[in-house]
């Protein structure tokens, strides 16, 4: 069975380490914060200038001056810091964020990512996505393996305009955990009950399949 959005977030959360500074994109990445393993602490960086993003506020603590990069009202955890956008992207561009999780339209075997622009559709802008993928060493892309029409999003070459070039090494889809190296995908794990054949079929770029492909496990 393909993973649910929650399961995808849960699998990504297994990559967290105690003491990680993490930037989570909008959508599934945001859900990762709900699955931080017990006894582990991570700090969420929000690129509008907040390190140590906390829970949503209550009606009583709601504050227009306290938002996240998705423009939602939030709170700050104890030990948070708040700074300018230049400082925020100094952290991001300078590689100080330990893990970045974000969505995408397409990823290819060269580690390219397309996530912001569909030609002939209105372009709303890249926001901080280009900085995030260019600056981070450790990025996990979360997306469905294929479109609703069954078209693979794991390609030999991205067809859409890029967000970043050669910067993606890890992709979690609803079907598989895929790693990218030396111009090819490698199938590392599959979703419980999903066959290697289905993944192979839905992966357009060159995919290396090891002899044994374990199923993902969830605590």
């Amino acid at each position: 069975m393909a993973l649910t959005r929650e399961q995808m977030a849960q699998r990504v959360a297994q990559e967290l380490r105690d003491g990680y500074y993490v930037n989570l994109g909008i959508g599934i990445p945001t859900l990762v914060a709900n699955f931080v393993p017990q006894g582990m602490e991570v700090m969420l960086q929000s690129e509008n200038g907040l390190l140590g993003m906390g829970a949503f506020p209550t009606e009583e603590t709601l504050d227009a001056d306290m938002i996240n990069a998705g423009k939602q009202t939030v709170t700050a955890v104890k030990g948070a810091s708040i700074f300018s956008s230049a400082e925020s992207f100094a952290m991001i561009r300078g590689g100080h964020v330990d893990l970045t999780v974000l969505g995408a339209f397409e990823v290819d075997v060269h580690g390219n990512i397309a996530s912001w622009m569909i030609p002939n559709k209105l372009v709303k802008g890249m926001g901080g996505a280009m900085d995030l993928v260019a600056g981070a060493d450790n990025i996990i892309v979360t997306m469905t393996h294929a479109s609703k029409n069954g078209e693979s999003k794991l390609l030999a070459d991205c067809s859409l305009p890029l967000t970043g070039k050669g910067c993606i090494k890890k992709v979690l889809t609803d079907l598989a955990w895929i790693e990218i190296d030396a111009g090819q995908f490698t199938l590392v794990e599959r979703a419980p009950g999903v066959s290697v054949e289905e993944i192979v079929e839905k992966t357009a770029g060159k995919l290396v399949v090891p002899e044994h492909v374990p199923e993902m496990t969830f605590a």
Binding site: D63, A64, D65, I67, K71, S84, L122, G125, D131
Partner: protein, 232 residues
């Protein structure tokens, strides 16, 4: 002390000198920390043909969005402009030009503009549409883009507290692009919630030193929230 007293008493005075065709750099992220009354004053003045540099362009009917209503903006430099139907329409009509700039590059362009750095290299945007027409260069085996800095005729900034000398502090995440914009204007105007006595702000805690600020005005703010999100 008259020379350092930056306080003006009317919005008219605050935006005096703004002319058609000028470049305005605005602080704010979404609707958070935007100089809402300075924007309203630009609308009142009906200044046209503006280039506006800001992370976003407000929403329909609030923030920078109101400058679209009378087509005052000719060109928008922003990282994300998706909140706004009128923007979309004018863009498709060809009435509005847009230069989409990655958020971190935009922040650094403002900072560099204020700091006398005409250009810098960044990995952001290499191999993407942002790189079109820009020079790339390799440092240490990695490819980078040359990005030029931004300065404006006016910078419009929203602060929390300021003193008469123009020293400013920002509140929470309403800081965002504001201190960067403040450095990059030929004339920098800051509107704040409160004007405090000179000496009240701790010197090491001032976010924007008064040297960057030309005018300070005290306003009242709606502080509209784009996405109210609460936990139950």
């Amino acid at each position: 002390m008259a020379g350092f007293d930056k306080v003006v008493l009317s919005y008219d005075e605050a935006m005096a000198g703004l002319d058609d065709g000028m470049t305005v750099i605005a602080g704010g992220f979404g609707l958070c920390g935007i100089p809402e009354n300075l924007i309203a004053e630009i609308k009142r003045r009906q200044t046209k043909g503006l280039t506006v540099v800001s992370n976003n362009c407000g929403v329909d009917g609030f923030g920078l969005g109101i400058l679209l209503e009378d087509k005052q903006i000719r060109k928008m430099v922003a990282s994300y402009v998706g909140e706004n139907a009128l923007f979309e329409k004018q863009l498709l009509n060809g009435e509005l030009e847009v230069d989409l700039t990655p958020q971190g590059t935009l922040a650094e362009k403002m900072r560099a503009g204020g700091a006398g750095i005409p250009a810098f290299y960044t990995a952001t945007g290499v191999g993407t549409p942002v790189a079109e027409g820009k020079e790339t260069r390799t440092f240490d085996g990695k490819e980078f883009l040359l990005e030029e800095s931004i300065t404006g005729d006016f910078a419009i900034v929203k602060g929390w507290k300021a003193d008469r000398y123009g020293n400013v502090m920002y509140r929470h995440t309403a800081q965002n692009f504001n201190p960067l914009a403040a450095t990059a204007g030929k004339i920098t105007v800051v509107e704040v919630e409160e004007i405090v006595e000179v000496g009240e702000l701790e010197p090491s805690q001032i976010h924007t030193p008064g040297i960057y600020v030309d005018r300070v005005i005290q306003g009242t703010f709606e502080k509209r929230i784009e996405k109210v999100t609460v936990r139950s």
